[in-house]
Amino acid sequence: MMANEQAFVIAEDLSVRLGHKIILENINFTIQPGEFIGIIGPNGAGKTTLLRSLRGLCPFLTGSVKVNHQPVTSMTDKQLARMMAYMQQDVNISFGFTALEVVLAGRYPYLEWWQNEREEDRQLARKYMEFTGVTALADKSVQRVSGGERQRILLAKVLAQETPLILLDEPTANLDLVYQEEIFRYCQAVCHQGKTALIVAHDIKLAAKFCSRLILVAGKQIMADGKPEEVITVPNLKKSYGLQAAVFTNPVTGHLDIHTYDSSAEIDTSQIVHVLGGGDSSGAVIRMLYEKAYRLSGGVFQHGDSDTIVARAFAVDVLTGPAFCPIDEALGQQNRTKIAAADWTVLGNLCYGEQNLDNLKAAFEARRLIILEDSPIGERDFTGGEAANLYSQLLAKPEVTVMTTPEFAAWLNRLSREKERLVDEEKQDQNAGTESYRTM
């Protein structure tokens, strides 16, 4: 209740219908002052409608929206315009108005009907145009500027409205990468000053990077609402966007990152594959196997190794040991248990030293072993011949196959295609069966 009293925006039990189609149903949320909220969701989920409803531009079927304790339906046009600025998508400005004239329109709610723009209005307009970097375009027709420039002119107009709440509907469409970030960064800055911003964003990664909170809209409802890492999860992405993705913290940027892949590999093979890797050798292999939906385990990698990072990103059950230390007995044992549980094991194109020699030894336990050999073992042996010796023993075993990494990738593709074909044939057989049944 306490939170509700302080809340700046309260949407309660909101449902919106456009024509005969219900667009939003039972929407509930509260927004505190200073929040920077990204609204994400698939196309046609109702993100724009949600924003328009907050602005009081869509009639509600049920429910209410209050901004600053006042229902939006009871505010006058000018009160609304002094409370929230709204930037819509795809604005088409005809008749060749200049950029300055467009930005000055943002001062409309502050003028009485008989007044002309005052000097302070012009100064404000120029100030915000400078901010979004469009001062030079002031006297240019908005029809003659590029998409990105127009977007920045419109942003300046929205800012010139000087409202505590800013609603932006995909402001980053058509923008260069620099300006995309710039808009998010500016919103973040104004939110730190106490303003509140809602932004409909297509780029989930950018939204996650800058927004303090995300609202995921899908299937007419709010599917998830909270901190970016709470909202952007593999099941949420799958459910809302139908997207096969891995969600992880990018070690380079430190931000939430998403790796998406072809969802045709959804067929669960239920085969377990163990990857023996480490030392930068097996990241690509793990990714390939993950995208083909194999169940994966891995070992023994070193802490902080890029293989470890990849494995973690794909939520692989991975064994790691400290760097520059030999694999201890307990880890070695766990590694062997996983190998025993796996249907087959992949041995990466590793370099061998004292620390990871145990991985090579453990490979002998594999039921079926694929050795990836991109460079000769002689170049990769730093144990004085011991590794090379073990390696040649491995090669002699009948359950061992040797291939290069590209060959391995091709082989995986072939496997998955065959599997799809089998599934298709099965379906056709079933169809044929029902058809022959009908003719009988």
Binding site: D77, K78, A81, Q88, I93, S94, Y108, W113, D139
Partner: protein, 347 residues
Amino acid sequence: MIAEVRHRKISLFIIMGLLLAGVILMSLAWGQVQVPVAAMFGVLGNQVGLPGFQNMALTPEQTAVIWHIRLPRILVGVLVGAALGVSGAVLQGVFGNSLADPGIIGVSSGAALGAVTAIALGVTANSIYYMPFFALAGSVLAVAITVSLTMRAGKIPVMTLLLAGVAVSMLLGAITSGILTFMNEYRLREFLFWMVGGLDYRRWEHVYLAVGPVLCGILVLCFLARHLNVLVLGEQEARAVGVPVAALRLILLFIAAVTTATAVCVSGTIGFVGLIVPHMMRMLLGPEHRILLPACALAGALFLVGCDTLGRLIIPPAEIRVGIMTALLGTPYFLFLLRRSHQGGES
């Protein structure tokens, strides 16, 4: 650069003002009855009551030609041209379409129906005021029907308004034609005369009739120009900054319609002024309506009086009516615009 633009705009206004004055004087001085320029100024000074003009030797004929025939005709032309120019600019703004003109929401067809009703009833002979009032009532009625057909839940969607305007115009046109088929030839001629707008035989009564509504209408529209600017940015944009879109559209439509209707009822239907003048002014001055609307008033007056003067001078002693002149000059320009907008669409 801004100073330069402003300078150019001001000089354009001055040039148009001078041109208008020139055209008016030319129109006063030239005609079938030869009046010396000195006598012309004499009549003007004498009538206005300027000192020093009382002693000039003027014939009653000269006074009649200048003061009672040519001047009212010119003043009606100025008023009608200004009204059509400004209303056209406003309607193009309201519709967000630079090819809209006052005829499009039923003003002209309503006025025609009103006029033909007045003629059919035979009341036109009683007083010259009857026909204008019938025409005014007809156009206001037509606009009211168009708008009420379009109004839905406090909104006036532009596309629907355009379609409703076309439908209403066709309906009223059919009724007008229906009435015409039952008329005798003399009355038919009277109607035809009115349909092809003209400024001939306009008297001071016509000036008095039009001056109030037209000047008020133009003044109010110029006052609302800043709101029109925001409205023209698009309905969504306008609502986002707090413009009461439906109310503003209604007010602008109504004032523009009454202004146009007043013009139509003193001069008959004159096409193309409301279309071409705003278009040319927008190309020269940009879309800022606070500048555009006064410029349209000036340019509309200039264009109409210019056309009328030309019409009087081309094949004397006969006259080409001003409605025909504007159409003759306007159609090629309109087609040029159409062709250019097509080419713009393709590239």
